[in-house]
């Protein structure tokens, strides 16, 4: 990020792909992400979404925050930071992790790339420079924000591997989920990880900003036969809900940003208890997390399978099929009609008495209909958040 040349006329930065994204963005509909301008919708959210489920979609994810952790204590630092134990992590492996504050409240989640024992890279949605720097105190480990020096694309969809294969990216089909390596795409040096936000087969491609346009163009090279679309944030939001991935400051307030203390959430409330290893040595939040686990969550983020076809956006959840006897027991944080599942799905918080899988709760849906609202009292079944789970996601070798 060139901060020395800021101008009030251009409050937002452009990513290294801007030349191409602006070309594709017929809708001229932009979204602010970490100070960057990224497309919300290129031309049709529905088709952009479909590309990620049918062929492959390309998403500019350059605004992701990227931090390099280097030094002989790099691994120890990560182990103090996150709730998972990474003692046995191998080079070229990626782990998904969360980090909490001292009270065991979740600050953010992210993917952690292990280059070697002394070099890790963390990718995350929120800015964490101060938190990481404070956590690094006492370790022989440096924290550097390298966000502006890496351009990034998500390349997600069932044909993603096939297209990379057509581009002669050697051995890409054997890259296992949650692993990464260095590759070459038509003479552009890139790092590719088999990760992503779509819950489908897909990759994330990292390169120097100077290579950005070349890499972008390569991904669209076989467009005549295999329709690849640039996909915007709206489409990304759809696939991530189907995949059951949660977002800080959308599904829960980051503990670093919540103004009201009771809006902070612990991992058990987010359904992320599986990421917490209480057997490992001291890490930030451990003592509090032991207490949180013992006590059990008062409410939990769950998946909801909702009757009908009207998305329960912003709905309040209740405990009774009869509206006049119902008590509030939760809230929907994200909701959509899922085209791939042909289901009305949502993610939401549900209180203790009702968060068991299979429980029934009720959503009051305000559905706008020609300048009026239809109020729908819809039955919801508590289900796993991971709604979409196609086996091709994890198959290795991947489909070519």
């Amino acid at each position: 990020m060139n901060t020395s040349k800021i101008s009030y006329k251009k409050p937002l930065l452009e990513t290294p792909f801007h030349e191409r994204t602006s070309e594709h963005c017929y809708a001229n509909d932009w979204y602010r992400w970490a100070g960057y301008k990224v497309a919300k919708e290129y031309s049709s959210t529905e088709l952009e979404y479909t590309s990620m489920r049918n062929t492959a979609g390309v998403i500019d994810i350059t605004p992701m925050h990227k931090y390099d952790i280097k030094g002989e204590d790099a691994k120890k630092f990560i182990n103090k930071l996150i709730t998972k134990d990474i003692t046995n992590i191998q080079s070229n492996q990626v782990v998904y992790g969360i980090w909490c504050n001292e009270d065991g409240m979740v600050i953010d989640d992210g993917t952690i790339f292990c280059f070697n024992e002394n070099h890790f890279r963390i990718f995350c949605a929120e800015r964490n420079l101060n938190w990481f720097s404070d956590t690094a105190t006492g370790f022989k480990a440096s924290v550097e924000d390298i966000s502006p020096s890496i351009a990034a694309l998500a390349f997600q969809g069932p044909l993603s591997c096939k297209i990379l294969n057509l581009l002669k990216v050697e051995n890409i089909e054997n890259l296992k989920p949650f692993h990464f390596n260095n590759y070459n795409i038509e003479n552009h040096n890139v790092t590719i990880s088999r990760t992503g936000f779509s819950g489908d087969l897909g990759y994330e491609i990292w390169c120097d900003p100077s290579q950005a346009i070349g890499v972008w163009d390569s991904l669209f090279k076989f467009n005549r036969d295999y329709k690849v679309l640039a996909a915007g944030m709206n489409a990304l939001e759809m696939v991530r809900i189907e995949a059951g991935f949660i977002q800080p400051n959308v599904d829960f307030m980051s503990a670093e940003q919540a103004l009201r203390p009771n809006r902070m959430r612990n991992p058990y409330e987010l359904g992320l208890g599986w990421l917490v290893n209480l057997n490992k040595e001291y890490f930030t939040g451990k003592q509090a997390l032991i207490r949180h686990k013992e006590k059990g969550p008062e409410k939990k983020l769950v998946g909801l399978d909702i009757e009908g076809d009207k998305p329960a956006v912003g709905s309040v959840l209740y405990d009774n099929s009869k509206k006049n006897q119902a008590k509030e027991i939760g809230i929907v944080t994200a909701a959509m009609w899922s085209p791939v599942l042909k289901s009305n799905i949502a993610i939401g918080f549900v209180s203790k008495e009702h968060y068991k899988l299979g429980s029934n709760v009720y959503a009051e849906i305000y559905h706008p209909e020609e300048l009026d609202y239809r109020k729908i009292w819809a039955e919801c079944k508590v289900v796993k958040k991971q709604f979409f789970n196609n086996p091709r996601r994890n198959e290795t070798p991947a489909f070519t």
Binding site: P11, G35, E256, P261, N262
Partner: protein, 542 residues
């Protein structure tokens, strides 16, 4: 001689006096405001001191005025408009500038030029300050309970306080940590507070400005962090911490209040300095004006600061000696100066490009906290600061009514300027020298400033006191330190707008919650008076 008897007579037509008057008149009482000057407003005035230019010659920006008061008094229908403005900036000696903009991402990048960590920390700072603002906001409207009293209403009041802090919903469940933070915030120095968040000098000093404006504290003085909070707890249309201009100058606020008062049949007697409050058997019953006229009223309310009220217009013999002593010891030290400058053109800054919105908000030139503390040291020595902190703004950029077309009005608030100047005190020459000193200093950051000055009004604490009547020219009617806040403001035992004299009340900024053009003391006082009269009024505030 005026023989009419009033229900309530209010001494002083400042924004608080007028607020009290408006609510009481709204309740149907016969109210008169007695004002020394030919115009109302106190320290919220717009004055044409140079032909064609309107000066907000005391207070100059607006944020704290409680929106409920604005609404209750229908100030919009009486002509008041508050206009938000963009940004603020500090100009550096090396030719760069540091700015905050309305656009959050732009502000991030602006701060990141100096420190990436600070750019990120600014959000955490903002969140923590906002949380404290949320805590304090409802307290502004409360009459502070007396913690030593066993009266049901005080016990209930304390209970309300406690309940409020424990309230899960309103504040989102304050935990121990947040309560600790509150106590720390109310007692720390702003330097120590900012040190916990930021590393860059310019970031710290830019933010520290809010903590020293109007106060006789330095950035290293314990208690200064609260002053910062006091300047952040206002809002413009729900944007907490934002500041705006009152269209037509700060006098538009009090003009609208006066008009609102008249619409409820309240009276204003201008050009009538009060010389004494009439008291018999420990009960007040009227006022004597300097011309000898007397005005009678069941209740007397003083908008004057507590010192001026009890050391000037109430006779000492009428007061309990402890109370008298406490009033004498009330800290109300003059520390601020003000320049109002008529400009023939817009200043061109060496660092901020023409047209950059950073130049349209408040502007500063102090380089670091040490320089700011040095400015305070000079004040302690009885000198005006060699490198004063200035809070400059050019309202005419945003408000088309302040200056002739093509010309501009600049307001310069100066910290620190002593009330008592060492080496012989203030003289006319020294006043002019002080003004010149400040203008020269500003001139260093501009290519044309010195050439476009058409007229300048130079005010030391002496002038502010002489014109507005604020003791020592203290803009808050008394320091905003913990020992003088809440149930200690202005005097322990007398924080509920009442005085040792029956039927005599206080409504000025010397009372809770203190200074700033907020109106809360005035509205709170009105509520207490109505309670004593067993009257009820249904408004947004009361």
């Amino acid at each position: 001689m005026n023989k009419t008897k009033y229900d309530v007579a209010i001494i002083g037509g400042g924004h608080n006096g007028l607020t009290t008057a408006c609510y009481l008149a709204k309740a149907g009482l016969k109210v008169i405001v007695v004002e020394r000057h030919e115009y109302v407003g106190g320290a919220a005035v717009s004055r044409e001191l140079h032909p064609g230019w309107t000066y907000s010659n005391c207070s100059y920006v607006c944020s704290l005025l409680r929106p409920e008061i604005f609404r209750d008094l229908e100030l919009s229908n009486h002509g008041l408009q508050i206009i938000p403005y963009e940004g603020s900036a500090s100009m550096l000696n090396d030719g760069r500038f540091y700015a905050h903009y309305q656009d959050h991402d732009l502000t991030y990048r602006s701060i990141a030029q100096f420190s990436k960590k600070d750019a990120e920390a600014y959000d955490r700072f903002g969140k923590d300050v906002m949380r404290q603002c949320k805590i304090i906001k409802p307290l502004l409207k409360m009459t502070p309970p007396d913690p030593t009293s066993f009266k049901p209403k005080d016990i209930m009041g304390l209970f309300e306080f406690a309940k409020y802090f424990a309230a899960k919903d309103e504040l989102g469940g304050l935990g121990e940590k947040e309560i600790y933070d509150t106590i720390r915030f109310w007692t720390m120095s702003v330097r120590d507070y900012l040190e916990e968040y930021f590393e860059s000098d310019i970031v710290k000093v830019h933010l520290a400005g809010s903590a020293i404006i109007g106060t006789a504290l330095g950035p290293y003085s314990p208690g200064s962090a609260y002053v910062l909070l006091h300047h952040y707890m206002g809002e413009v249309d729900g944007t907490v911490g934002a500041w705006g201009y009152s269209r037509g100058g700060m006098g538009s606020i009090t003009k609208a209040m006066a008009s609102s008062l008249k619409s409820n049949n309240g009276e204003i007697k201008a050009g009538s300095p009060v010389s004494q409050i009439l008291i018999k058997n420990n009960k007040s019953y009227g006022l004597v004006l300097e011309n000898g006229d007397e005005i009678y009223a069941d209740k007397i309310v003083s908008n004057l600061d507590v010192k001026r009220t009890f050391l000037k217009v109430v006779e000492e013999k009428e007061l309990p000696s402890d109370f008298y002593k406490a009033v004498k010891n009330f800290k109300i030290r003059g520390s601020s100066g003000k320049l109002n400058i008529a400009l023939d053109d817009l200043p061109i800054w060496k660092s901020i490009p023409v047209g950059d919105p950073a130049g349209t908000g408040d502007l500063h030139i102090t380089q670091n906290i040490e320089e700011m503390e040095g400015a305070y040291d000079d004040w302690k020595d009885g000198k005006w600061s060699q490198f004063p902190y200035v809070d400059m703004c050019i309202p005419s950029i945003n408000d088309p009514t302040m200056a002739p077309q093509g010309k501009h009005y600049m307001s310069v608030f100066i910290q620190y300027v002593p009330y008592n100047l060492a080496n012989g005190g203030w003289t006319e020459e020294k006043r002019l020298e002080f003004g010149k000193h400040v203008m020269n200093r500003i001139g260093n950051y501009s290519t044309n400033f010195n050439d476009i000055i058409n007229h300048a009004e130079i005010r030391t604490p002496k002038e502010i006191e002489a014109e507005v009547g604020l003791t020592e020219g203290n803009i808050f009617q008394g320091e905003l330190t913990m020992d003088q806040l809440m149930f200690n403001r202005p005097v322990p035992g007398y924080a509920q707008y009442k005085t040792p004299i029956k039927n005599l009340y206080m409504c000025g900024s010397s009372t809770h919650p203190g200074g700033g053009v907020m109106g809360a003391p005035g509205a709170n006082a009105a509520r207490e008076i109505l309670k004593d009269l067993k009257m009820k009024i249904s408004t947004h505030y009361i």
